[in-house]
Amino acid sequence: MKPPGQQIEGELEHQVAALRRLASVLGATFLVEEHDDLVAAVARVVRERNSTYIMVGESNPPRGFARLRERLPQRLMQATPPGVDVRIVAHRGLKEEGK
């Protein structure tokens, strides 16, 4: 997901290329969507592709006024059709630190 007009270049381009190759190895489809609103864009793709599963990475802890905002998983759950799972993949390194 990237904002409209933003170029994918430098280290980001390298990481996107690596992800694209990984998707190819796995037989998955890799999409780059342009949208200002992450949740709206995910909801659109889910509807278009009849997806039943959304996996997201762990977010950084919110700071300042962001604490008052609803968290991404909740917003995804609300924006997508019923029956779509939202799964958060934890950062393993953080899990080790928490032991």
């Binding site: 990984l22 037989g27 393993r92 080790e96």
Partner: protein, 190 residues
């Protein structure tokens, strides 16, 4: 009384400012150093010498580098090179997971890869072409049925645009990190 309060306030503000400056400087340095160092750890098959993994992790930790374990997958000539290889990918994921767990325990960041090729050397060549790294750590022993041949290692020494560290564990050292997640000798999780 008011003077004491003002001095105390100035002291607190000074300490807070110093702390914020130091934190920003530290973060900047960490970001700079994290962007350059990559240690490539290419491997084949369902197991890799534990000595090679540990050596790569020690290097990565000492140099504040990212470990890049790379599973080299063979694609038969009857299939397109860029085709999906779910069975190989499944095995690769298990291996990469085992290595990542080991790296995570030592606070080493991991950026894993799966590379396809007609031969291991071909996959390695594609990897060298696509990725940038500072070191390559490779095990000289062909553990199991798969692995790098002596010729592959000589080729790597000639072609890799980085330092190459070839490790040959002793004849009695059969410790491996494997798909089943256990080391044969110790019984401890790999």
């Amino acid at each position: 009384m008011i003077e004491h309060f003002l001095v105390g306030l100035a002291l607190v503000l000074g300490l807070a400012g110093g702390f914020l400056l130091a934190r920003g400087w530290h973060r900047g340095n960490a970001a700079d150093s994290g962007a350059v160092h990559q240690i490539l750890l290419p491997f084949t098959g369902a197991e890799i010498s534990r000595r090679a993994v540990d050596a790569a992790l020690r290097l990565a930790r000492a140099e504040d580098a990212t470990l890049m374990p790379a599973y080299l997958a063979l694609v038969p000539k009857r299939l397109p090179l860029e085709c999906a290889i779910p069975k190989e990918a499944d095995r690769a994921m298990s291996m990469l997971e085992a290595i990542e767990q080991r790296a995570s325990a030592q606070d080493v960041p991991v950026d894993a890869r799966i590379e396809r090729g007609r031969s291991y050397r071909h996959a390695l060549a594609r990897l060298l072409n696509e990725e940038t790294f500072d070191r390559v750590v490779v095990s000289a022993t062909a553990t199991g049925t798969a692995g790098f041949s002596g010729e592959d290692l000589v080729w790597l020494l000639e072609k890799a645009p980085a330092e190459v560290l070839i490790l040959r564990p002793g004849p009695s050292d059969h410790r491996v990190v494997s798909v089943n997640g256990r080391s044969p000798d110790s019984g401890s999780p790999a």
